[in-house]
Symmetry: D2
Subunit: 260 residues, 4 copies
């Protein structure tokens, strides 16, 4: 049971400068707490609620920035991919390829990600049971890649609502993959704002505390210096100024959770 | 209110001969009842539960067969696409491009399908509310294609279970798109058999009767001469021998449903 | 397969005059359509959302009115009971004792109702699966009363929402009890209005059509001459003026549903 | 924020001797950890899945035992009541009257419990949203009793399954009532064993850890020296031998959860 790792960053890659600012600040926060950090950011939001939602910097603009972040700050990078053609080029500059929840059953994407040899982090579909992830893990390991992470990010619960079943964490861990808890997307209200997805930022600490006490390998938290002005997922991102206090408590829970 | 149309066929394109046999038999059945028929078949099952699930004939083998079916039998063809590159070549030989439910929020796929000018049939995600489909319709119509169909195929209800909310039918119709009821996938038990998805064929007539009485433009029913030996979706396909009696009753319900 | 029966009436017994007016009007409607009628009304609403919700006339005031309605109009009467002490006195003047959904697992109430010898209609709890009703039926029949009806009225679906699973109708029928579809409470939005329960009257015909096409013994519809001024369940009661047209269509569906 | 209290005991009152043995052992465990203890036990199981399920000692046999437990061991006692007539006599010998989840909207029972002046602990119905409990609290406080506890015990999630939404804990706390987490009934599988309710004892620690990390006033855990031989709720009771280690960790989480 290794200590808790933090996977964090803004939802979208907004600009080179913004990425370096956020990554630098997160590196300081993680160092102060003595925890590992993976920097997360997206080059494309491929399933925005509406066509007019901002989609991000795009692959070509993002890859050199990812490479520089990684080299200059020494941080592992995680980003999500949406089409199999993206896997190989993205794998050259990032450490973890993330499969979005809606795409968690798309065989070709899973296999293409697996074949890069990078760590593959699959978000559990909102429509899947935790034990259903066994087949997902098998698709990746059968493709020759044993490095799979599984992420809990909520299950469909009626309309426009997700619920996090904390039992999913040990059930997925028993499949042999380290488990990540995504505290940001678990508090989404899908479609809840009509033309965009809503969120309940105030429940990020609630669910993160619960998940860390149950026991997870990593917690995933999207953050921003000013979430209400972020181009996506603003309603469920945590202001970076609030992150140190939240993490301090999570680290304390993690120590107890993993004590013999 | 046009009379009910039937969208039917086997889950997968198994072979040229099998496709012609099934399409011919379905054409006879539809003619005898005086209803319209769209022939449905898939060239690839891109999200099988496990890697070992049979995926189908593949795009290259399928397109000439689709073209011949259409020309020789005079039937409109519907098939599902999974990647944006597939849209243009498939659109040359089919009449309706279908977006799978898991992919119903993937903007690029929706736009690529829309830009072919073909009718686009979007299956409502198991994780979406019926009113969420407004944004999906908008993505297609804003791309210049007004020909959208929406298909109900069940909503996530706890683990490994779908439920059909019949209110979804009029709610989606109010978005301005003709509504299809997929009686086959609505009775799936996702992941219910461990390494494959289960189904409850006995409830296909139950849900189809309910949906037609509420009022739909079309009913979608996968069928096979021997479902238990079909390469996919066997547990929820209806034996073709049982189809005429079921359809006869659906047509009678449809007449009452659409009477003034 | 007997023809469809109508169970109808206002949610609450408001006054002797109102009850006679409603029952008389319903009797005319049912006669015109040639269908059976059971008059439904409640003497007490024991689980209103808030203390200030109107509870009804009370047992003592209601029983003589029930007796007179039954004798003068020749109508069977259905009412709901909430405590075991109510079973015996109520059974003297009504034909069907109804167990509310929240109380569908309360053994003493079920047994007391069974022991009256009257027909017992149990509403399926919003928290129960249709197959769970087997144990409920057994509690009544093991108490020496074989006359059980089971009513579908929706299942919990996330927060403040119910969904009707039409598969529940044949599943419960297979338990050996005639099945009633309650189209009124299936469209409730429990707690949806803060201090009171909401409803979506516009979906009563939708769900009633679906259920009758699947096949039920009876349809339960609460009605009122002016639902928006009714003391309870107004948002989901159908104006009585709209009932004849709705029922006419239901009767047509029922004939097809039950044809050989 | 007072330190965590333990509400514990066997599901049923089995015998005077068994009650004294269990209560004595629990008192030792709680003392060793320096936490408060409320002894929980039921005199009647009024909603067993089937008629043949054991119901318990009964009111008359139980009350003197409750009185003796309380006097001789100095422990506050909690028991559940099912009918309004039970409230007054039970209130004479117990400290907390508990309203079962299925009955959480029964106005007369809530008011009768409130009028005893004892603390009233209401279990949130599996069919209610956490914010719906505001009306429940209001029914009790409007009856002149401000001493209300609210208990989370899971929400309906598809069929035969409950899910615990950890957001419910702070939402209910914001209603002004101390919140209890019932780790025992939250892992029930209602109706999951056909003629009896199943459970998943292995998830009791998982959910208890999560809830305590979020922050609760008390945790409710049913326990038994040999759960598999207990007359009810065996599948979800924790063996008392495992309780000290579990509680030790919960107390550590509680300290961090409630630190400034």
């Amino acid at each position: 049971d290794l200590p808790l790792t933090l996977i964090a960053g803004p939802c979208q890659l907004e600009s080179r400068q913004h990425a370096f600012d956020m990554a630098g600040r997160l590196k300081e926060i993680a160092s102060a707490l003595g925890i590992g950090l993976v920097y997360k950011t997206s080059f494309d939001k491929a399933n925005r609620t509406s066509l007019s939602g901002k989609r991000g910097a795009g692959l070509d603009a993002a890859l050199p920035i990812f490479a520089d972040l990684r080299r200059e700050l020494g941080l592992p990078i995680l980003t999500d991919i949406h089409e199999r053609e993206q896997c190989a080029p993205v794998a050259e500059v990032v450490d973890i390829l993330q499969i979005p929840a809606f795409l968690s059953r798309q065989t070709d994407l899973l296999v293409a990600a697996a074949e890069t040899g990078r760590v593959v982090n699959v978000k559990k579909g909102q429509f899947l049971a935790p034990w259903d992830m066994k087949n997902v893990v098998d698709k990746i390991t059968a493709s020759g890649n044993p490095n799979v992470l599984l992420t809990e990010r909520g299950a469909s619960f009626g309309y426009n609502t997700l619920v996090t079943d904390m039992r999913a964490l040990p059930i997925m861990a028993a499949l042999g993959a380290p488990v990540v808890f995504d505290a940001t997307h678990s508090v989404q209200q899908p479609g809840g704002h009509g033309g965009s997805t809503g969120g309940q930022r105030e429940f990020v600490p609630v669910l993160a505390r619960a998940a860390v006490a149950v026991g997870v390998a990593a917690v995933f938290i999207e953050t921003h210096e000013d979430p209400d002005r972020a181009p996506s997922d603003g309603p469920n991102m945590v202001p970076i100024a609030e992150l140190p206090a939240l993490l301090e408590r999570l680290v304390a829970f993690d120590r107890i959770a993993k004590s013999a």
